[in-house]
Symmetry: C2
Subunit: 207 residues, 2 copies
Amino acid sequence: MPEETPLHERILDTTEQVLRRYGPEKTNVVDVARALGMSHGNIYRHFPNKKALLDAVSARWMHCFTESLSTIASDSKVAPAIRLRRWFDTLRETKRKKIQDDPEFFQMYHTIAKELHDVVTAHVAELLQQLETIIRDGIKAGDFHAKPGASSAAMAFLQTTFAFHHPALLVTRVPSDDEADTVFDLLLSGMIAGPVSKKLRPKVKKS
Amino acid sequence: MPEETPLHERILDTTEQVLRRYGPEKTNVVDVARALGMSHGNIYRHFPNKKALLDAVSARWMHCFTESLSTIASDSKVAPAIRLRRWFDTLRETKRKKIQDDPEFFQMYHTIAKELHDVVTAHVAELLQQLETIIRDGIKAGDFHAKPGASSAAMAFLQTTFAFHHPALLVTRVPSDDEADTVFDLLLSGMIAGPVSKKLRPKVKKS
């Protein structure tokens, strides 16, 4: 794929407009070319097919959520607990804004993303990487006692906060700030306290 | 609505079969009547319209998830932490079975339920009530230190475990037992430790 160029970005901007007008099913490369007043051969040089175009435009859409999170996650001057809270609040706030400003567009990207497993997998991997950085720093500093390690603790944090950022849930309901406070406090408390001792941990037969 | 009768149940059984064959959009009361070999007037005496029929069949479907949970939640002879774990595992296991045995049928009920807000609200209220019973008993016994109280702790537990039971997420991915262990341990640890002291709680400006 060529380097990002102004034309590359212009194609993606126009793709968004065409998607908004026709929806993901009916959008095709010819429509995008026509809207840009260029031959579709020109577009194919940047994006070999519709899927590549949708991949790129979705990756860009998801990047707008992760961009500011990356700075928060790696800011080692800030205490890990505060970074974790900022990461959580920034993700919530960015999603909330997008969904409130343009609910149909949010829903459309959600629909597109369901088909684009690679783009979603890369997006989730990026979020997990950021969480892992924060949690690993927290463990190193002795603030967190996450078991079995930063990687699975990152996954647990992502999973336990789905109500606040997963598009499949947000399209139905955006939880309140009070709910976010309660959930964050519960998770932070669990991470500070560390794993429940074997004596207290319920033994349940696995099915 | 009349008392549940064998005919009432037979109508719901047949509705499920018709739904399976035609899908929710195309299913109507006349099809259900025809499949039962009776006049649709007969069905209307039990269910005044298609919505009432879908409400009833969906409520019954959701009831199959909550039925066994109710016994677990109210079994005061069992320690609250163990009840909470059993409740979590039973809900996970029931959902997993349903989704694995018949993924299309699970997806279909998920699609129907999105339109039936009252049925879903009642279902969620029932789950929350069960969790509240367990958590309240845990607070009383001094095992849990949930703040600001059993009711919001129940909501937090439900929200933080969506990855393991919310249909909108399960249709995409069923998390592993290891992930369930890690998440449950984190939540239980947080509930035992109680709220993070103000000194440790990150202060973050609300946007």
